[in-house]
Symmetry: C2
Subunit: 116 residues, 2 copies
């Protein structure tokens, strides 16, 4: 388990210290170091999946869990009423910069359209 | 099952005709009528969930399925290499305009950051 060359695997392993907004047996949540909104969280599965392309049918409950954890964190931070956006980038061309699947959760300002 | 006042429930029921890019027992995929990228699909569950806030733990496999179907469609349309972005808006302030949960899948151009 875990990939020493992967930034998020090192955060999961505790090799790189990070403050967790939430953690459970399947995922953890940190604040994006380059936030694009007043609230910008990353929901990161403990298991190393490179991207959404790497997720198999058996991973569907995990993927759904990541989304629901994102929803819970947004609500816990007081953004349930104003709303929030969850985003997954797959591939460098779509903006994926860490090749360990993660969900961005943004809230706290008007979110424009198109989404990037 | 189904809500006559819900646009997407009517598409699911066949009351409003639509061309399905994909369909299975849990969801269907249509093209967004106001596309924000060369490929812009909507993955819509057959079951009426108002938003991600409305999803329960039992819905986690469904949520994951929606993401994986989005990934499959993006790959089928030839965007596996260049990448794609999946987006869920929760709440009007985040851009949700139809209150039946759906996943946007965008590809075919450079996707900018922030995501809206």
């Amino acid at each position: 388990m875990g990939n020493e060359s992967c930034l998020f695997c090192r955060i999961v392993a505790g090799t790189i210290p990070a403050e967790f907004v939430h953690q459970d047996e399947r995922c953890l949540v940190i604040r994006d170091i380059n936030p694009q909104a007043p609230m910008h969280m990353l929901v990161i599965p403990r298991e190393h999946l490179e991207s959404l392309d790497d997720a198999a049918q058996k991973d569907e409950p995990l993927l759904g869990h990541l989304l629901r954890v994102g929803a819970r964190v947004a609500n816990d931070e007081g953004h349930g009423e104003s709303g929030y956006r969850t985003v997954i980038n797959t591939g460098a061309g779509a903006g994926q910069s860490v090749f360990h699947l993660h969900v961005h959760v943004l809230a706290g300002r008007a979110l424009n359209w198109p989404p990037g």
